[in-house]
Symmetry: C2
Subunit: 329 residues, 2 copies
Amino acid sequence: MKRRGTSKLRDVAAAAGVSVPTASQALNGRARISSTTRTRVLEAARRLRYTPHAAARRLILGRSDSVAIVPGSNMRGIFSDLFYRAVLSGVGGAFEEAGYRMLITPTFRPAAEAPQFVKMAAAREVDGILIAGVVDRRWLAEAVETGTPVILLDNHLPDIPVPAVVNDNAGGAYRATRFLASLGHTRIGFIGAAVDYPFGPETQAGYLRALRDAGLRRDRGLECSIPIDVEEARRRTRTLLALPQPPSAIFAVTDTMAMGVITGARQSGCAIPADITNPPLTTIRVRKEEMGRRAAERLLDLIHGKKLERAVEVLANELIVRGTTGGRR
Amino acid sequence: MKRRGTSKLRDVAAAAGVSVPTASQALNGRARISSTTRTRVLEAARRLRYTPHAAARRLILGRSDSVAIVPGSNMRGIFSDLFYRAVLSGVGGAFEEAGYRMLITPTFRPAAEAPQFVKMAAAREVDGILIAGVVDRRWLAEAVETGTPVILLDNHLPDIPVPAVVNDNAGGAYRATRFLASLGHTRIGFIGAAVDYPFGPETQAGYLRALRDAGLRRDRGLECSIPIDVEEARRRTRTLLALPQPPSAIFAVTDTMAMGVITGARQSGCAIPADITNPPLTTIRVRKEEMGRRAAERLLDLIHGKKLERAVEVLANELIVRGTTGGRR
DNA sequence: TTGTAAGCGTTATCAC
DNA sequence: GTGATAACGCTTACAA
């Protein structure tokens, strides 16, 4: 009983009455092959449902035409989180167009041993690795050591030589804060993200620079760095608003936190012109799809041996003014 | 400039002063090798950071020690959906213990051509494929044709010879409905799931059988099959409760829908002894982790050439009586 | 105990 | 145009 789908190139060649190398050429197209034999080979391949053995191809070609996509440890739900969903959509589009397979390497349990992507790099199973978000620097370094191209998305570790595509977090925070200042606010609260993650410090830096440039005095009592969590943001907002001199505006670093801020502000008796379920937040628009696409393209560049111009590619973002900041100046 | 991590077995052998096959044996352990050479080889391998080339190994061994995990098209967020998160935790545990790699094959865009898992099966890239949820029968059939072991989780297609691990949907619905009847309810609403998916019809069958066995008359006006959506469930609930003869109890097929039912019932003025955000639903407890683990184990059985006893393994579930059905008989 | 020879399925090189 | 021959990196017979 011969199993289906197991036909080898040898079978195709035999069926077409040619040698194995000829069959290979006919299928891959490169060399000069008479159109008669080519047709015969193609026909035979189709009939036998021939698919080249991936490992054999990989071995001789030295490439797998596939990349690993690694969800960083901050990505609870790689497909659910709206942010990463958009990012990955860009990633997926770029790789698909380039004819690359994508393998997501999940980490079901926090492994003590090397995570899959390190092993895959070492075993040369993929041509490149795209890591989205937070990653253990030790494993990252080890993956880089193997020589397999690696790119970081929405994260970067200055001390490890890995190119990255990131959002201009500092710039976004700067523009948002300056905008609030331009509305006349002088006490602007900052609800930041306390994570092992670049954007926590970066946004705070942007916020502080904006205060300085706007000639406002910093009040540490108006700042906090907390886990990215709606409930925690709500609580801190209530605390801020209960101060003797409360802020008249609050800058929350993520939309998730902004939700909590809105709820908290409502509870504290602030009127916010918005529908709870979908508040028209004044926000920073990050071009997420673009970010994913760029990262994918940079990885492809690396795979194809191109040198990248910049180690870290910073994507510009945009301030979108909407209802929650009340008025357009 | 020699790239790291690219050392081959040949390098290790050279460094240890032995032949390539000897090095191989020393590393893989099978044959009789003097402990001196073994140590030398191991030492050399460690020093050179040797990792066997996956493709080469795969080619000669005929196996990859890795499986593909395919999120069915009903899985919006494979890692986010609580149900599948639990299921995948079981899956992941089993495969990890067995030393198998897991590759998630995402479908970023609905491809017209064959999805990745079919290609991987045909190219013999993985030893087995686990598909969780809804899958196009045509592609499934094609994957099965390749001879690569395939198992279905939480789904089954009777006309395609694929083993499956499923939940006893009919039984669960039966027990739930009979329980409601035992509380004295004679008009029991049914809010079912209209999806291209076994559990829609199955739960309805269980519901109907329970009505019969309890001696209750079926009233089609109390039944509906809708998309799995909180809002839709809420709306239907309001409709049901607005009937001249409304149901006195409602069986919702998923917890998601039950949320909508509760909201709708509240809005219609029903008193439900429950906290909205986390209502103590009377529910069917599906052993999700177990389900995942079983599916993984069955796939491993197939990979190892064992014949499965049952094509479809049905997992028993359990009725958990809690607050929302008011009283324990 | 160790090395030699062969082969996994494919593609590239180079004669014919 | 086509077909031998070698090679990719590794493992398993089998001979030394």
